[in-house]
């Protein structure tokens, strides 16, 4: 027999304030995909005591314990006094991720965010002497007839991180075509807020001809990055060429604020230029097909190459234009979602140390490079909810989940990673199907670096189309310029929606494990798998299509012992049997499972 303690502490980790196990007159708690959800309770008490609780300072911590184990924990957010006592609602500590907005740049490949620096910002900058564009590139061009003073009249474009953002720029990579007069200098300059200089370095010097270069830089922490050109000929320079002959065009720009997952390896043998060259490196960790890598040595121009395949842990294949000696750098900036999740934990814990555990031990990495990731005044919960939909680096990209369970610790992991499986027997099955949620063909809207919307080719699930007899196509909005990221998200979405979400109401009396042992209903949580084991044998060939469900919400009435489970969708095999039945013309309530304990 499982009995529960219902207690309120002065704060998370604080002293016991009240043990209301014997006083509560009603108590219902819920879990959802983000961990412990709400706990609603009523406790009869005198008005005086009710007001003492109502007016109590601090953030009380409410918990349900089964022995020393945690059944529920949350922070007491809402308190109401009524005639016979107090009604309160606690919410799980995932709420801590909605306490403060978060602004941060992680990675940007968006050239539209670059702009010329005005003279009013830096007196040495004279944008009127240059021509600029950000049409899928950053270009700084010298117009015909313009006259530039020696080491003056700088032309530049700048990228500024979001004002007030919590992360500083510490890395950049790009391709550039540099066609400048001799002794003109192409350089970068970094600043902290307010144009306080941090560092500057020459990228290239003009020659009689064109330099095609690829660069990978790590930077001292800064808020702005500026690309600039300057006349360093020793005297005034007048442009006599046709317009835009002299110019710097920069493409494939990536600005990042983390180096944790960057690729920074070296070749282990001499490389000869060619198509489809197998390139030996110390490690191919964090490389992926389609990734753009820098190869070269700092003193040289370097080259941008695209990974076409990864042979093993020390070899990848790419087409390469130049020869390289062993020991050449192979580098790329990489940003993963788990870095964002960890930073959210750090920032939230710093703001409210008792509300979210500082431990990041349960945050896993999807291994998916995020090319365009920037947040402005967004709540951590919203950010994570978006990130878990992005898929991962698996061959069939998985959906992910985030939650805050015991010890106020953020969990970021593949969906179902720590799920338990429960076996139930149906008493009164009610199953309905609808194709409304079916999407067996998906294309994506995404952006080119200049901001124009692009649409990917639709990908479809042939088995689903054959099973349902219809192609239902949906659009996925991807905020990225990375075609690799688009493909991954598209595959993840297709995998998730190729079977529709059915509706049902199932009443069962208890939950069992695979050994047939009966477990307390408190063991069932959102994200767990529910297996219905007593379906009719006539469904034998397709039985697995209807009996496996994933719960996205559980609600247990502690007084009546009734557990309500809301499944999100069946595992993919459920779809076929449902599709064979006649679809109702309406779509109303979500799909419910009710579990009653007797």
């Amino acid at each position: 027999m499982s009995q529960l303690q219902f207690a309120t502490d002065t704060a998370a980790g604080g002293a016991l304030a009240f043990d209301d196990s014997g006083r509560a007159s009603s108590l219902v708690y819920a879990t959802n995909t983000h961990g412990f959800a709400e706990l609603r309770s009523s406790i009869p008490m005198a008005l005086q005591e009710a007001f003492l609780r109502f007016d109590r300072a601090g953030m009380p911590h409410q918990r349900l314990n089964d022995g020393a184990g945690t059944v529920y924990e949350g922070r007491l957010e809402d308190v109401a006094i009524s005639g016979d006592g107090i009604q309160s609602t606690a919410l799980g500590y995932s709420r801590a991720l909605s306490d403060a907005p978060y602004t941060a740049l992680w990675s940007s490949a968006d050239v539209t965010q670059w702009r010329p620096v005005r003279t009013s910002e830096l007196a040495s900058r004279t944008p009127e002497l240059y021509q600029f564009d950000t049409n899928n590139r950053i270009q700084i061009a010298l117009p015909q007839g313009a006259i530039y003073g020696n080491n003056a009249n700088v032309g530049s474009q700048i990228f500024q991180k979001s004002e007030g953002g919590v992360r500083s720029i510490i890395g950049i990579s790009f391709d550039a075509i540099v066609t400048l007069p001799a002794n003109w200098i192409f350089f970068y300059q970094t600043y902290t807020s307010g144009f306080v200089s941090v560092a500057s370095a020459t990228i290239d010097t003009g020659i009689a001809g064109t330099n095609v270069i690829n660069k990978f830089y790590t930077l001292g922490a800064c808020d702005y990055v500026e690309f600039a050109v300057i006349n360093s000929t020793g005297g005034n320079y007048t442009v006599n060429n046709a317009p835009n002959v002299w110019r710097v065009s920069i493409t494939n720009i990536r600005v990042v604020t983390s180096l944790d997952n960057r690729i920074d390896t070296t070749t282990t043998a001499n490389i000869v230029a060619g198509a489809g060259v197998s390139i030996p490196v110390v490690t191919t960790a964090r490389m992926y097909v389609g990734q753009r890598l820098h190869i070269g040595i700092p003193a040289a121009n370097g080259e941008g190459i695209i990974v076409t395949s990864i042979t093993d842990a020390t070899h990848f294949v790419a087409t390469i234009a130049a020869n390289y000696a062993s020991g050449a750098n192979v580098q790329a900036h990489v940003i993963y979602a788990d870095e964002v999740a960890r930073d959210l934990v750090i920032k939230t814990n710093a703001l409210n140390p008792t509300q979210l555990n500082s431990s990041t031990a349960l945050i896993q990495s999807p291994g998916l490079d995020l090319l365009n990731e920037s947040y402005q005044d967004q709540y951590g919960a919203d950010i994570l909810t978006r990130l878990v939909t992005l898929g991962d680096s698996q061959t069939t990209p998985r959906q992910w989940e985030w939650a805050v369970w015991e010890n106020r610790q953020l969990v970021y992991q593949p969906r179902g990673y720590s799920s338990r499986t429960w076996y139930v027997d149906l008493a009164r099955p009610e199953i309905e199907r609808t194709l409304n949620a079916l999407a067996n063909s998906v294309y994506a809207d995404y952006q080119e670096p200049g901001g124009r919307t692009l649409r990917s080719t639709a990908t479809s699930d042939a088995a689903s189309i054959a099973r349902y007899g219809v192609t239902r196509r949906t659009m996925l909005n991807v905020s990225s310029t990375s075609t690799t990221q688009v493909a991954t998200q598209q595959a993840a979405q297709l995998n998730d929606t190729k079977d529709p979400i059915p509706r049902a109401r199932l009443t069962i009396e208890a939950v069992f494990d695979q050994n047939g042992a009966r477990w307390p209903l408190t063991a069932v949580r959102a994200n767990d798998i529910i297996v219905i084991r007593n379906l009719p044998p006539t469904l034998s060939t397709t039985i697995d299509r209807v009996r496996i469900l994933r719960a996205i919400r559980t609600e247990l009435d502690v007084f009546t012992g009734v557990l309500t489970i809301e499944p999100e969708s069946p595992l993919p095999t459920l779809a076929a049997m449902l599709a064979r039945t006649v679809a109702p013309a309406w779509v109303t309530s979500p799909w419910w499972v009710q579990v009653g304990q007797k």
Binding site: S2, R23, E49, T70, A361, L362, R420
Partner: protein, 449 residues
Amino acid sequence: MFQYVALSDGTTTLELTDDINYALVSYAPIVAPLRDGLLGDGVYADATESLTFHAIGCTAAEAYAAAAAINALLDQARRWWLGQGVTAVRLFVKAQGSALVTLSVQLKGRAPGGPSNVALPATFHEYYGKYLIQSIVLQVVRRGQFLGADDSAGPSGAATNPNVEQVTFSSSHPTSSPLDLVIAGFNFVTTPLIKAGYLIVGSQANDVQVRPVTGATAANWTAFADAAHLGFNASVLRYTPVATTASTSGDIALSFVQGNMALIAKVRNNSATTVFTVTASFRNAYGTVVSLPSVTIDASSLNPRMVFLGSATVPPNTNIITLTVQASAASGTIDFDALLVANLRDESCAVIAHDDIALGALNGNLTLQFLSMRTSTTYLMPQVQLVDVNAHIAPVTYRGVLPLATVGADVFAVWTATNGIYWSFTDSTNAKVNVTLQATRHRAYLVPQ
């Protein structure tokens, strides 16, 4: 049927069977069932009793006063339950021919939303100089169990901690009864801070087990000599990761168990950076495996700590535990001392965790008390308290279900904790604190007798 029925708060006693002020007309006791709900505070549901009696007086005023006195006590009972700081009111009963002491039970007053405490008739009567208010109906909510005599057992010996202490009552009692436990062995000078610990309680020999783990060696799992840190044995079980893949220990034997089991481990992460994920599994004699949820052992401390590894329903003939550990890096080590296994079969078994206990102004020898408060006149709810020689009290923050309960004649319990660098709770001389166990049983009855 009843020779004695009374309401009393210890000061005012109203005997409904005295035939002077009251005459009991009828009382059909409710036998409390097991609770439907899952919340603690005892496994038996409250009962709503209904008694019919006459209020009697030599004058009409006396009859009115007798009726009003009943209402006042029931009102007080409700106020006590609402936390208004008044003394608890108890219902006392003794059945005809009973050899037991008078049984009593705490009253909670009127049922929320229920009828009034007392329902008066439309008229009253005068018979031969006596004034009667006839057939007054009293309705009141009481706790489910009547309590009779108290029994004591112990103290046990002070064996080397952690040890499952056993105390035995002089007689067995068949009904699950509230239990008070007292853990002694603390002192305000030698143990000025009682560290967070666990109490595990059972009523049968295998309900509480402390299992050594040193023999569970396997590849990368070794016995590591650590006598200096006062472990359960001279060695602990050490896992040294050579990769970040999961690795499983050898078998840790335990006496046969089945049903709902909880597992607690004494663990030490010896790395300041590597995080370990521990998954314990039970296995029975036929190879059926039940795994607990994974638990993360972070790198926040290099000292031993007690970790609740979870609970699970295990099949019959379960007698093996294994530990599976996954390290975040192929570096560092993690050590395991004893495992504490708790059967959570029914309310006679329990796991209670408590936080660090500061002594405050307590003096002298100290006892850690897990009290049901079922006979208290002031406390509404069970309590965990640290009590000194002057009966001064320090509150304790705890997790687990109270009151403790027992059935039969035996109580088995272990209390243990860690302290700084030590696997055991130690005093100011860095010696193990070996505690004793004492139990008080409040004999419970569902049928008043």
